[in-house]
Symmetry: C2
């Protein structure tokens, strides 16, 4: 082995052990634990049924940005690693006994190395995903606002000493959050509007109308705009949740797949269900647990939220 | 496309939709949800810190039986899909601020098709894994006995109508569970001892001393026997938890890796940590959520626990 390579591995081992043994990581883990426990409690109180996560499926979220493809072969099929549980949420709502559901799921998104130091990206993380049949975006946004206040109250109750350390002025309770549209902020702030507005904001806010994946519903009243919404954390922490009303009609899905260049062959059975059976009208969202913990603890680099480094495009020892 | 192939896919779509829409699946999901929520609550009350699951790592559990290898390439490395979080539990306990931890994690185990209809195997499932520094197997078994009673009480409280439907005589509360050793039961029942004893039993029991993975501690007082333990569900439902005290000394790990034929090259950094830093003395276990739900609801085929078929060796549409 070359000397520089040995040195690099040694450095990595040292850095790996330093991250593993950092006491501040345990603070953040306790905040994450409070988030997860409170989210389970909130979902139960609101009547959502939990589905277990799946990591392999013939179909997964195509996402609207480039990631390295992650798939394996097994049982004569090709299985993609879960980027999000979006299609499984829609399909599970075909069950008449399910009105609303949630999933706590690892998401694997093999981002390119240009995202290694954004502070916001890990190539695997945990998403809490939920979906309601026969509800619209306004309902989902209101649900999420209640969830944030519920979870923040739980974090303050469970780990007051950690909150005192990272947020000496405590975690606020929020009223109705402000709602903006992308085209409106872009006109005001230019192309970097999301980041600039996040830096300026002191409370989370909603950002409506993103052009992205085919499953986000196009607004029938304003074609070319979309019934989706992101929650943006303030203080520059950026995007923390994505959600939408969903496309559920066969011809409209086909049209949107054409526009976004989705692989219709890969989605043949999904399309068959949409055509034969019909998909439910639904709306939902998913938020990243690590990003919420990062906001609460004001952590600059999300890679410090986890004991095991998961920086996009970079190797790890464990 | 050939006519028989079209028919097969059509049959699969029909079967897929039937499973998705089965109302009894939702009963079992609610039991699972109660298990997970109560487990989080119990862990918090007992002071365990939660780690988020990871699905990719250069090392994962080698397991003691044949499964199809699941790995991907990314960032110039080879990443295995998580078969269990065993090594990450051990490594995380290097953090002096962590005394005990738990993880709710999907496990991907690409079993061969001969396990498609055992009733007990899914090729991905959810495991609740926990580990204590400076505790022994007796402590872990007692902890798990408390956890079972806590979780069963929560299931009865959360979904009494489901318990009434599947277990009309309700879920018992258990005292100290019986403890057996493999060699003792084998002498009495022959090679199929685990299954036969499970069928005969009316309460869960412990089964000690299995010859398996290198990380289960060999008994220094009786070399060739092992300080590990399985929890076996009664009524024929079989194995529901595996645990052990862990090998943590470098030379002993090397010896055990040699015996089990583990790949020392793949574990080079793990071995380096054991040699330079020393691994903590620890004990823990992991139990399958779907198997616990299956036992509670007396489901014959574990594939009925999930809305999405995950039968070993068989394809699925979603």
């Amino acid at each position: 082995m070359q000397a520089d390579l040995v040195e690099e591995i040694a450095v990595s081992l040292e850095a790996t052990l330093a991250q593993l043994q950092s006491p501040s990581t345990v603070d953040v883990l306790q905040v994450q634990q409070a988030i997860v426990r409170a989210a389970h409690q909130f979902m139960f109180e609101r009547g959502l049924v939990q589905l277990m996560p799946l990591m392999l499926s013939p179909i997964t979220d195509p996402l609207n940005h480039g990631v390295v493809d992650a798939a394996i072969s097994y049982a004569g099929s090709r299985w993609s690693l879960t980027k999000s549980m979006i299609f499984h949420k829609q399909l599970a709502l075909l069950n008449p006994a399910l009105e609303a559901l949630y999933i706590v799921s690892p998401n694997v998104r093999l981002e390119f190395a240009d995202r290694a130091f954004t502070g916001r990206h890990l190539f695997e993380f945990t998403q809490i995903d939920f979906e309601f049949r026969n509800k619209d975006g306004a309902f989902v946004r209101s649900f999420m606002e209640d969830l944030i206040n519920y979870v923040f109250a739980a974090v303050k109750r469970d780990v007051p000493e950690v909150v005192a350390k990272y947020r000496p002025q405590s975690l606020p309770e929020f009223g109705k959050l402000d709602v903006y549209r992308t085209e409106e902020l872009e006109a005001q702030y230019g192309p970097d509007f999301e980041h600039l507005k996040s830096r300026e904001a002191t409370a989370p806010f909603w950002l409506l109308n993103h052009r992205r994946e085919f499953y986000d519903k196009e607004d029938p009243a304003q074609p070319g705009t979309y019934l989706n919404y992101d929650l943006i954390w303030p203080e520059g922490f950026g995007e923390g949740l994505s959600g939408a009303e969903r496309e559920n009609e066969y011809h409209q899905i086909l049209k949107r797949m054409g526009e976004t260049g989705a692989d219709k062959e890969a989605f043949q059975h999904y399309l068959q269900v949409a055509k034969q059976q019909g998909l439910p009208y639904s709306a939902g969202a998913g938020f990243g647990v690590e990003r919420m913990a990062r906001f609460i603890c004001r952590i600059k680099d999300i890679n410090d939220v986890t004991p095991f480094s998961r920086r996009p495009g970079m190797p790890a020892l464990f």
